[in-house]
């Protein structure tokens, strides 16, 4: 018993020594500065006096054998009901190692009650030595001091108080016991926690941060948000947001007004704030919308739908196709050379003769004029009775004939220009109408009647007059110059008519109406006829009398068309601003759709020799393009717009009506609604 007491005392001593060491360590000022409450050594209030048994907190298990706690990690409980940790148990090897390494090992003892190692101080060792020598343990104890009688054995005669102590003072309070038991129960059940627990919790809260990520780049595997899209960052500020921007960034009155006007639609503003300029930094006030902006950003972060959107990084120029430079594609018409003036009204149609010396034009003033190309002189004016809608020079160089569509008449006219021999020969050929036995069917007869011109008309040059039952809008020659085709859009199933000059006979190729026929054209080498209705172009074989192909235009209304001299490509102009290039070998859909013009396209034309084509439209513009067709079937045609001319004036919302190439030179004629014809040369 005595030894136990002493040991306890010893250990107390040890603790005080250790604490003093700790205090001296922590007396370093700096340590205290940063860490606010850690290292605060528990003050030992029993340094100066001996402790009584009850106050030793380290053994709370009572006087029971220690081996009862062998299986547990703790020994008893502290005041807060927390388990007291046992020191780490060592095996023999550890003990041996420590014996070798630790110089203090000889004075280390194990406290059987707490299971901890205690290093004995020099005083302790002295004490033990004195006890072993059976001397009084305390060195300073005077064995031979005079006796002081603290408690006297004499009994007082009279009691101090008149009445005996109340019974209550000898019994424990029941009420208190009840409350205590309640608290104990609550503690046991974990309903309430002790104060120190909350204190500890608070302390824990303070250093709740730890090394969350062990390395910079390696991610721990765990379930995360599926397919995460990080929020985009805010735009960084430009010069305009500066407190002292260059003055040009400040709003002038107009911009300010505009800014204020867009109050309802703030996203349309070019800046989301009004730039301001302050002379010095101290004048800058707090930004009134700062909190609001932050709040909006927060709302965006959690409420704005996120999606991945691809952003184009190309320049718009990259979308424009790379085409060869027009300089390398010469020759093509580049400037306005001659203007042919003389018509009083819109010129609807023009055509050149085979040699390229003469030009014929038909106008709304119901005249046709024949011009000399090189001089711009009007050689002849022939008056007809109605608006001239179409003129075509006969492609046969041995004949001097012009086909004129004027009202519901088609006139074969000998212009009497150029080679005299040819003129006279033409006249002689057409003088006598050939006699034939074939009976003209009723259907044809009601459609067209071949008439001999009157004398006056003959002098004008008329060689034959065909009177149709409806207005004729378009005529075209076959390549050989014998056959020609006539279009009457209102003629229903009799809208296309094919005539033969040599036999003075007409025939109707179609029995059923195929829609509003706009234009027809013969294939340059094969016996094919292209018929353009409102939306489709049909290709007929005239020999076999079958439909070869039906081209789909994808446009609302076809205006005009022209066939490439090779015969494999077709150019179609439409009233809905498009120029369509059909490659007949490729497909029935356009090979290329050119949107070169701003308004309805009225005329398209291929050059007979050069790889050129032209288109004209109501936006007064004539566009000459390069259209190279290769013999190699594998290579698609190359189309390059080359030059745009805009010299005609607009009259009654019409610009240009017709366009026509010179048969030999890379020159182009354009017929305008302003009553002039213009020639562009290279």
């Amino acid at each position: 018993m005595l030894t136990r007491k002493i040991k306890r005392k010893l250990s107390n001593y040890g603790e005080t020594v250790q604490n003093e060491d700790a205090n001296s360590d922590s007396s370093d000022l700096t340590d205290k500065l940063g860490t606010n409450d850690e290292d605060e050594a528990p003050v030992n209030e029993y340094v100066d006096h001996d402790t009584s048994d009850e106050e030793d907190i380290r053994n709370t298990i009572g006087n029971v054998p220690m081996n009862w706690y062998d299986e547990y990690k703790h020994i008893g409980y502290d005041w807060d009901g927390e388990q007291i940790e046992k020191g780490a148990t060592r095996d023999q090897l550890d003990a041996f190692l420590q014996r070798i390494e630790d110089p203090e090992f000889w004075r280390t003892v194990k406290d059987p009650q707490t299971g901890r190692d205690v290093v004995l101080s020099d005083d302790d060792v002295n004490l033990i030595k004195r006890i072993n020598a059976q001397r009084v343990p305390d060195e300073g104890f005077d064995e031979y001091a005079p006796w002081i009688e603290w408690f006297t054995g004499e009994v007082m005669k009279m009691p101090l108080r008149k009445f005996p102590e109340h019974k209550r003072s000898f019994l424990p309070s029941k009420n208190e016991a009840k409350q205590v038991s309640k608290l104990v129960h609550a503690l046991k059940m974990g309903w309430i926690k002790s104060n120190s627990y909350y204190k500890k919790l608070k302390a824990k809260k303070k250093d709740r941060f730890y090394m969350l990520w062990q390395s910079d780049t390696d991610a721990e595997r765990m379930r995360r948000v599926h397919d995460h899209i990080p929020a985009p960052k805010r735009f960084l500020p430009g010069h305009a947001e500066s407190y002292n921007p260059p003055s040009e960034y400040l709003f002038d009155e107009r911009e300010l007004e505009q800014w204020n006007k867009q109050k309802e639609t703030p996203w349309k503003r070019k800046l989301h704030f009004i730039p301001e300029k302050y002379k010095t930094l101290r004048e800058v006030p707090a930004y009134p919308r700062f909190i609001k902006e932050r709040f909006l950003r927060c709302m965006d972060l959690y409420l704005c739908p996120r999606g991945i959107k691809l952003k184009l990084t190309i320049e718009p120029e990259a979308l424009v196709p790379k085409l060869p430079s027009p300089k390398n594609l010469q020759p093509f018409p580049t400037f306005l050379a001659i203007e042919y003036k003389g018509h009083d009204d819109m010129i609807r149609c023009i055509d050149t003769d085979k040699t390229g010396q003469y030009l014929v034009s038909g106008s709304d003033d119901s005249t046709i004029k024949i011009w000399e190309v090189n001089t711009g002189r009007c050689l002849k004016t022939v008056e007809t009775e109605d608006v001239v809608r179409s003129v075509k020079w006969c492609p046969n160089s041995a004949l001097s004939l012009i086909l004129i569509a004027s009202g519901n008449k088609v006139i074969l006219l000998n212009p009497n220009v150029g080679d005299f021999l040819i003129n006279s020969k033409t006249d002689s050929v057409l003088r006598d109408s050939p006699k034939s036995d074939t009976v003209i069917s009723e259907r044809v007869r009601t459609t067209v009647q071949w008439q001999e011109p009157s004398d006056a008309e003959y002098i004008k040059g008329y060689r034959a007059v065909l009177v149709h039952f409806k207005e004729v809008t378009h005529v075209t020659w076959h390549g050989k110059g014998d056959y020609f085709a006539v279009v009457m859009p209102d003629g229903q199933n009799r809208s296309v008519l094919i005539g033969q000059v040599s036999k003075r006979r007409s025939q109707l190729p179609f029995t059923r109406p195929k829609g509003l026929v706009q234009s027809v054209i013969f294939h340059p080498s094969k016996p094919y006829l292209f018929v353009a209705t409102q939306r489709h172009v049909r290709v007929y074989d005239l020999m076999e009398q079958t439909l070869v192909k039906k081209l789909v235009s994808n446009s609302q209304w076809i205006a005009t068309m022209d066939v490439h001299p090779g015969g494999d490509n077709l150019l179609v102009g439409t009233y809905d601003r498009k120029v369509l290039w059909f490659d007949l070998d490729l497909s029935t859909k356009p090979y290329q759709t050119l949107r070169l013009h701003g308004t309805a396209v009225r005329g398209v034309c291929y050059h007979k020799r050069y790889p050129l084509f032209a288109s004209c439209s109501d936006d007064k513009s004539l566009i000459v393009s390069h259209g190279m067709v290769y013999n190699d079937l594998m290579q698609n045609p190359l189309i390059v717009p080359l030059k745009r001319f805009e010299d005609h004036k607009k009259t009654n919302d019409f610009g240009l009506f017709n366009v026509c190439f010179h048969p030999l030179q890379p020159w182009v004629f354009s017929a305008g609604a302003d009553g002039t014809i213009k020639l562009y040369c290279n």
């Binding site: 941060f209 969350l212 765990m222 010069h239 921007p245 040009e248 070019k270 930004y287 424009v320």
Partner: protein, 569 residues
Amino acid sequence: MVAKRKKKFTSGEGARYITRRGALKKLQLSLKDFRRLCILKGIYPREPRNRNKAQKGRSGIKTLYHMKDILFLMQEPIIWKLRDMKVFFRKVQRSRTIKEYGEMHKLLRKHPTLKLDNIVKERYPTYIDALRDLDDCLTLCFLFSTFPTLEHIGRDLFTLCRRLTVEFMHAVIHAKALRKVFISIKGYYYQVEIKGVTITWIVPHQFSYQPQRGDVDFKIMSTFVEFYVIMLGFVNYRLYHSLNLFYPPKLSTENLPINDKSLVDKQALASERIAALNLSLNKTSEAVDEEVQLDEFPENSTSEHMEEAKKEAEKIKKVKTLFQGLKFFLNREVPRESLVFIIRCCGGDVSWDKTLFVGSTFDEDDETITHQIADRPIIDKQYISRYYVQPQWVFDCINASELLPVNKYFIGEILPPHLSPFVDKDRDSYQQYIPPEEVKLRDPSSVPEEDDSEDELQINDVETKNESGSEENESDDDTEKMDEEENVKEIQTKKLVVKPGTVEKEDPWQKHRLEKQEYRLREKMVKNKHRRLYRSMMEGKKKRSKEVWLLKKKRRVLDEEVKTAKRTK
């Protein structure tokens, strides 16, 4: 037997998304709790590829969440915590209404708190990811650190924000990570580079808190902050460790002035001292900062890039030691915290009046002070040994990464414009306006000192000439015609002579016009597929160039005004 017909929207886009109302129903949460959960977990609505299908054919625009996101939320333990909280508040409310305050206090002691550590780790798999997303976090934390206490938001949130932001600033100072600064009308922008990630945040000007009228919900913002402080704390922890600093920061003694040592042990004062940003922190170990040298690549195709990168590295190195050896003294009217922060980031010493704030290291009468930063027109007692400059000088120096001449920044001077360092340096001058000051700053040799404005004017003139070229050209033609007529007259009067031929020069304007025409034609050959895109791109380009033109015009007018003012003087 006929196979059962498949119901619509049970697979594909229709099944992939769920509306917010549907999500609430599925999670059995109130909107308030759902919002909180979404903010903490970083769940956001998604933009579906096909909204009609995703909304199961319903009209209008609904907030759609990804089904997987909602399922992900469903297994989140925090949901239970939120439900517990609901119960808890009900209990507190009850004890309050029946006036059992003891019970209430007992309950309030057990106030449940959310543990967000795991969510931080889950949302940011790596430290770098967290750094990447730090912009909003820092801006909001800096804002909240300036707030007074608000209703419904715990007071310790604000103090924690303050603590963490100060800690972060200390880390930046130690890492010398500051790259760019900018004073805008909204506040101070700082850009730092940590681990190769650039982080930009805004600190509002003083007195930024203003009561908001209904349109700002501080509760939502505080939920964000609740998450951000945890994230910032962990980032700070790692940052401090990578810099060999103690994490709850400790001040080092060597820099402490001796007379203050008696006060040091007071806890509050220590934190204030840390907040002063003026003393460096204790290091766990003195590690030598290793300079990262750019590797040399022999004769590479990207030598230009290398050159540029080297230049950039050089610049950064310069910024780090920009104010080394300089001593700054701040007058009381300048924004102390931001200036101390940036000056210390660049290696300068700084102090202020002792009575202004704790942590000043030297007094105004110190003869070794090189710069005094003041923001008032006149100072009565001036020392000859130092420059009195306005605060903008410090900011401009850092952006220019060199010490700019101080003469334009003296007190009372009209300051040169403060330019943003964040604008794109390689931008197209036709697409974006570059003020002449910036041109000068980028290449000082390009513009001579004095008549730079005139040069600019001339350049502008030429450009405007080009823009309004067609008209002028016509008028030119007219004049030419007139000239020709005169020539003819002259010729008629004089005798016929043979004149030496003149070399015909190609008119650049004519050539330009031709090229433009050709381009216009070529433009019409844009593929049908790209037509609309092309048009909109060109429209944008036009709009931008118009903006540039407008700014240039304004500048020209202003310059002329200044010039005339000078002349009249």
